[in-house]
Each structure stands twice: as structure tokens, then as C-alpha cells.
């Protein structure tokens, strides 16, 4: 039997956790599973940040979950960048939750890296503040924080694939 894992997103001032999100639609509102058509990013602006975590809901007899990775496949349209706090070295540690914002708070929350477009060679999302951390029971990874940043020439409507992976030890 395997561990049960889901991806969760946190929103709002008081942190509402939406479990098992079905997409990472970027937009102009602080909401999980948002409607991107109704909430488009104005060119020249940023999306609201996404604060997401991997959540182990049951170990299922396994002993360890670790090596959490996140990356994107597919290219963004021109004039936009996709930034993150995920990184395989010089990791900034676990961030404490703050209500997602459409401001560029990369310096505060460490999302200064461009999202990689192939599987990272090692973990880039920490657990308990460390890239070598692990979960041995139910619990969360650190927050993976991402934002789409655009300039005035950006076009709406790009679709890419958001990937997560983890290792499980029986």
C-alpha cells in the first residue's frame, strides 16, 4: 500500500487551505482553482502568488516521503516570467504563510528563481525548511511560492503543465 498525497493551496488572510486542488490557474484574484477567463492578469501586472504545498494525508505503511520537486513543462508566452522560491541549492528555508498578493514580494519571500522547465536533479522544495528533509507521518512540505510576472506586451491565455514529484520509501 502506498502513501496518499495531494497538493493543497492556501489563500486568504486567515489561511484557508483548499485540499487536492485540480489546477494552478494564475489570475487576478486570490483563489484556488480560479477561473482564469474571469480573472485575467492585466498585462504589465503580476498574478496573485500561489502558495502551495505537497500534503501527505496518510503514510499507507511507508516510512518516508522526501525529495520533493516542482517544475513546469511548456513555454510561457513572450513578455512574461514565472518565478518561484523552489531551488536545488541555497534554499531559503520554509516561509511562514502570508496572504497571497499581486505585488512583487520576491525579495521578502524568496521567489527570485525562474521556474525550471525540466525535472530538477534533486529536491527543490523543502520539508521542515530543508531540501533533505522528509516526512514520516502526515504533514506538509514547505510552501512552494510562485508568481507570473508580465510586462505590457504580454498576451493572456498561455497553458503549461505544472509538475510535482516526490520519492516514497516503503
Amino acid at each position: 500500500m502506498a502513501a496518499t498525497v495531494e497538493i493543497c493551496e492556501s489563500n486568504g488572510a486567515g489561511e484557508t487551505v483548499t485540499h487536492n486542488i485540480t489546477n494552478t490557474n494564475w489570475g487576478s484574484t486570490d483563489s484556488a482553482n480560479l477561473n482564469a477567463v474571469s480573472n485575467p492578469i492585466t498585462p504589465g501586472s503580476n498574478s496573485y502568488e500561489k502558495w502551495q504545498r505537497l500534503h501527505v494525508t496518510a503514510m499507507g505503511g511507508s516510512s518516508r516521503i522526501d525529495n520533493v520537486k516542482r517544475w513546469r513543462t511548456g513555454s510561457l508566452a513572450a513578455n512574461s516570467t514565472h518565478v518561484t522560491n523552489a531551488r536545488t541549492s541555497s534554499y531559503g528555508g520554509a516561509q511562514s504563510y502570508a496572504q497571497p498578493s499581486a505585488s512583487d514580494r520576491s525579495a521578502t519571500y524568496g521567489y527570485t528563481q525562474s521556474v525550471v522547465t525540466s525535472t530538477p536533479g534533486s529536491a527543490n522544495v523543502g520539508i521542515a525548511g530543508s531540501l533533505s528533509g522528509s516526512l514520516t507521518g502526515t504533514g506538509y512540505s514547505d510552501y512552494s511560492i510562485e508568481q507570473i510576472q508580465t510586462n505590457v506586451s504580454a498576451l493572456v491565455g498561455t497553458t503549461v503543465t505544472d509538475n510535482w514529484s516526490y520519492d516514497e520509501t516503503a
Partner: protein, 127 residues
């Protein structure tokens, strides 16, 4: 703080009550693999299986690494070769040199490696 199940839209006061609920959308609780499989068309089990395979592979690698660390230090041509160098040598020997000549070839390779301080190509090894 509140916890919402994206599948059935129910809201819970704590993570624990979320984990305990039986989702009206899937008929299972979020702690059950069946819940994830119901939401992903069975893909979750494949994801979990791949995660287990990666975990087992890494576990084996860690065991081999620990075994290697137990090996005595190897001193060649006046200096101790590093752990990384030794792993590289062992990997090279294992993958490129015939088992029956392994010991002799290993010695030759190590001496050349340390002397020249560079990786040798296959053709330079005396087999």
C-alpha cells in the same frame, strides 16, 4: 483557518476533521488511495508506484554509498584519492572492464588517474 475539500466543497475547522471525512464526491476519505484514484481516473496509483520505485532506488544507492564509505582510504602515488574519485573509478571499472582482469586493470587505472589527474578514456586502459 479553514480546510476545504476541493472535491466535495465541504469546509472543515481543522485538518484532522478534513482527513476524517468521507468525501461525498468520491465515497472515500482523503487518507485513502481510492479517493485519489477516483479523482484522477486511477492515475494516482501509478504516480505512487513510481514514487516508491524512485524511493527504493535511492535507498539502494544510499546503502552502496555507506558501504563505500566503510572502505579503507586508498593512497596512490603519494596522495589519498578522494571519495568522489574512488566512486568514479569504481563506476568505471564496473562498467567498462572485464571482471577477470578487474584487479590488475583497476591498479593501472588508479595510477594513471592520480598521476594525470584526469579521466582516462577506455582505449587507454590496458585490459
Amino acid at each position: 483557518m479553514a480546510d476545504i475539500c476541493a472535491a466535495c466543497k465541504l469546509e472543515f475547522e481543522t485538518e484532522e476533521t478534513y482527513l476524517e471525512h468521507v468525501c461525498e464526491s468520491t465515497g472515500f476519505s482523503p487518507t485513502q488511495v481510492e479517493h485519489q484514484d477516483a479523482l484522477t481516473g486511477g492515475n494516482f496509483s501509478k504516480v505512487a508506484e513510481a514514487a516508491l520505485e524512485r524511493g527504493e532506488e535511492r535507498l539502494k544507492e544510499e546503502e552502496v554509498k555507506q558501504e563505500n564509505e566503510k572502505l579503507p582510504l586508498l593512497k596512490v602515488s603519494g596522495r589519498i584519492i578522494t571519495k568522489n574519485e574512488r566512486e568514479e573509478i569504481d563506476s568505471f571499472i564496473t562498467t567498462t572492464i572485464r571482471a577477470e582482469t578487474g584487479d590488475e586493470a583497476r591498479e593501472i587505472f588508479i595510477k594513471r588517474y592520480v598521476t594525470e589527474n584526469s579521466r582516462l578514456i577506455d582505449s587507454e586502459i590496458e585490459k
